[in-house]
Subunit: 366 residues, 2 copies
């Protein structure tokens, strides 16, 4: 058990944006929401998963929708209380703690704000260890846990409880409501007990976000080359490409941000081309037409000077970036995991090969 | 209090189809569902609204969706129990009685089947006195009653509870889920107490359906002319047009059946043309280009020989029909009522004029 204050939030927001793999929403907005809640209501107590009693009600809270919309719609203050009331009325039981469901700029931060405003502790865990676009893409699904009963509310005060036969149906129905509500909503889903938390959650991911964020924040000294080296060392990331964004293709469809970013090489990648495809999150990276990383491994773009993560909604022409590959949580590499979030699920006709195998000596294996 | 058995169901189905004004689903399918439930579980107890205690939980049950889909998807047997469990869990209270929310081939019958299978009484009332396409179009809306908490379930077992800020938002969100579930679902909405029931419901509408149905069923003797006269006398309907269907334009859009039926006159209407526009239900009837009736008054097409109502999904070329106008429930004629269901709401650029004023001496005032 420890307290989360403003410094921790700064670092967690930065690190979670890296784990967001391009998705999870704007880290700046997420940070502001968490900071203003903690300024007003005081620091949040963060629990280690092992500190949560087996029968306690643990409630993941998140925003659902297209990140571009998340950034434009205000996040109100009433949603947390509405969700709290719906869930405790439905379960006939008090909520013990909140937790994030995914890592990312908004979805790592929102539960901090909610915990501060509701006076509840937050668990140091999530259900992905990164961000994913669809709501069945959670480690709990591998464990056979249902996404529902799931509570949803919009900033206007509409609220919905879903109880579905499969998590794919939850995605289908909740996505339809999300679109009708204007493209982004607040949700509680995969509501679990402490026992399930300890069995299936990605543990200590908030702490990992914080460590990553602190590492990026303190990369101040040295030449560009040594700072880059330090960045990859601290994050345990693989360097996939360094280049300048020369085109961004975008489409908002079925409530998602789809797109592709085209890069022209810089430095040792000069003369080469690369692209990264995304659906909210980055899905596939290819250099000179050869795939160098795919989901479920994390593909993140960071500013080549500051190493600050660049989310898919912030991609623009001329930006110089590093394309970074990070190993995903081990459960995603199992057959069940790959069925849920492997490249083929996203329509990419390739087998999954772990990023560390695709890459040799820090360079993509092309 | 009285018992509803097979004869009552036959007559109610027939009469409710007339009150359905072209919508409310296929009366044959509705009848089969009610009959098989009553055969299996015994007759249903029907309560007069005055017999319901003020604090009793009264739950309207209905199908929501496009009538063409209602007719193609099976109506399962588990939906009633699922809805019952959701509603009583959410309210923490047992359901006292069910009621229909609208008159129509399916939605008058389904609550009978549900009442039989759940062993609950049915109240002799509804919230429209006819059928309407959108769920905020209920007398309870005029009385400021909320459609939510509303429970929804599909035949697969997915279920949803909505709690919205306005009934228009309920329509928006529930319609999105209905479409995702394949176009038709079972719902409980406008859940009320006995006091509200007595204040705002359209009372004794099931009994009126039964009387209308019996009148149609017993129109056996006499010439075509005297039977037609007897039909209009028994139903208190206005004869708007008699003709043959020469074209039906249809479009299924946003979960509704939109369309227009074109008629060529027969008998005293020979040489004249008419059309009826619909959105699930018939909205506007015009003869020789002049409007002769509009919502919220009821416009129903009946077979010119048998007087059996023809729903919008059963319209086809060559069918000979009478276009009948019926006065709507008095609350619909108030400014609040017309705002909800007047011709302008449906995009028809005309003021509402009561059908009896548009018609003189049994003929349209054209």
């Amino acid at each position: 058990m420890r307290k989360i204050g403003l410094t921790e939030i700064e670092d967690m927001a930065l690190g979670a944006a890296l784990l967001g793999a391009g998705g999870g929403g704007d880290p700046y907005i997420g940070k502001l929401v968490a900071i203003s809640a903690v300024r007003e209501c005081g620091p949040v107590t963060m629990l280690d998963p092992e500190e949560v009693p087996d029968d306690a009600l643990v409630v993941p809270m998140a925003m659902m929708g297209a990140p571009t919309v998340l950034s434009e719609k205000a996040i109100g203050g009433n949603e947390y209380k509405t969700l709290y009331n719906m869930v405790s009325r439905f379960y006939g039981k008090e909520i013990y703690a909140l937790m994030p469901i995914e890592a990312g700029g908004v979805n790592s931060m929102l539960p901090i704000a909610a915990a501060a405003r509701l006076g509840l502790p937050l668990v140091d865990a999530d259900g992905m260890g990164r961000a994913f676009p669809e709501l069945q893409m959670v480690t709990f699904t591998i464990g056979g846990v249902s996404a529902t009963p799931m509570a949803l509310t919009d900033e206007k005060g509409n609220s919905v409880i879903f109880d579905t036969i499969t998590n794919k149906w939850t995605e289908e129905l909740a996505r339809a409501v999300t679109m009708s509500c204007g493209g982004s909503v607040s949700v509680c889903l995969y509501i679990i007990d402490g026992k399930t938390l300890k069995e299936y959650a990605v543990k200590n991911i908030m702490t990992r976000s914080e460590q990553l964020g602190r590492a990026i924040r303190t990369l101040k000294s040295g030449t560009a080359g040594t700072r880059e080296e330090a960045f990859f060392q601290a994050t345990e990331g693989f360097k996939l490409f360094k280049g300048k964004i020369v085109d961004v293709l975008r489409e908002t469809r079925k409530g998602f941000n789809f797109g592709k970013v085209i890069l022209e090489g810089l430095g040792e990648d000069k003369g080469r081309k690369a692209y990264v495809e995304f659906q909210n999150e980055n899905l596939v990276a290819a250099v000179e037409g050869e795939i160098v990383a795919t989901v479920p491994d994390l593909i993140s773009l960071v500013d080549s000077e500051t190493f600050i993560p660049v989310t898919t909604d912030a991609l623009k022409y001329g930006k110089r970036v590093l394309v970074v590959g990070l190993k995903c949580f081990e459960l995603w590499r199992t057959p069940k995991g790959l069925e849920l979030v492997g490249p083929r699920y996203f329509g990419c006709d390739t087998d999954y090969i772990p990023v560390e195998e695709r890459v040799k000596g820090g360079r993509a294996n092309v």
